[in-house]
């Protein structure tokens, strides 16, 4: 058996003396609070970005009335123009189509 009585007495006295020491306040754990702001900040930024980015508008403006000029040739070989006004075109023929057939 070790004879540590002298040392044990020494440390008991030392502890008694230290009993008068006041421990510093335990620090508040702020880490969690700081971390909470990070996801909140990211979410707010994403929402703001969605709000600021404008959706491209579809073009709904229709052209006004379309004037259709048709050239007719009657049985006598005379040519007549027919002018029609409408809001839409069913068929469209390129003005240069005739070149393919008549050239």
């Amino acid at each position: 058996m070790e004879n540590n009585e002298q040392l044990e007495q020494f440390f008991d006295q030392m502890k008694k003396q230290d009993g008068h020491l006041k421990s510093p306040a335990f620090p508040l754990l702020k880490k969690r609070r700081v971390n909470l702001w990070i996801p909140i900040g990211i979410a707010a930024s994403v929402i703001l970005a969605f709000m600021l980015i404008k959706e491209p508008k579809a073009i709904h403006d229709r052209p006004g009335e379309v004037v259709i000029i048709t050239l007719h040739t009657d049985e006598n070989g005379d040519q007549h123009f027919t002018i029609e006004q409408t809001t839409h075109l069913d068929t469209w023929e390129s003005p240069t189509t005739s070149l393919l057939t008549q050239y």
């Binding site: 020494f10 440390f11 030392m14 230290d18 020491l21 510093p24």
Partner: protein, 164 residues
């Protein structure tokens, strides 16, 4: 381990951690408080993690010890000593109730092992873990420290008796 568990562990060892920080800082109270704060910060920032909850005290003591060494080194207060260093002659002014002054006369490693075993009720194996040395080496420091401290206590008492 979540922050609440960590908070609970640190709170339960707070008083002992403070006293250990003082002992590691040559009983300089303000420095010890700074060291303790920095040690807690290291833990909360996740720079060090506790793997085995049963070793929470040795883990905390080890962090405090290394933080104190860093701080003392920054302040230029670390004097490297060999393990064979003999305690200096006792100043006549040392009182037998000046426990801090007496224990300070021991070589660093011996002082730390002795404080951990006698003051903080740790085992030699736990002390070895904190000091990151082999158990056999810690036992040697323990035996030598005990012998030297007994001599110092006796010497101080003799000086006091002669002084009366």
């Amino acid at each position: 381990m979540n922050s609440q568990q960590l908070d609970h562990i640190l709170k339960s060892h707070h008083r002992e951690a403070y006293l250990w920080a003082r002992q590691c800082c040559s009983f300089q109270d303000e420095l010890a408080k700074d060291v303790l704060q920095q040690a807690y910060l290291k833990i909360l920032e996740g720079k060090t993690t506790l793997k085995d909850e049963s070793k929470s005290k040795t883990w905390l003591f080890s962090i405090i010890r290394y933080t104190a060494i860093d701080e003392l080194r920054k302040a230029g207060k670390i004097i490297p000593l060999s393990t064979e260093y003999d305690p200096i002659q006792i100043n006549e002014e040392v009182d037998s109730t000046d426990y801090e002054a007496i224990i300070q006369l021991l070589p660093e490693m011996q002082r730390e092992v002795i404080l951990m075993v006698f003051y903080h009720q740790m085992t030699i194996a736990q002390s070895a873990e904190i000091l990151q040395i082999a158990v056999g080496t810690a036992r040697t420091h323990y035996e030598r420290g005990k012998k030297k401290l007994k001599e110092l206590i006796t010497q101080v008492q003799i000086q006091e008796d002669y002084g009366k």
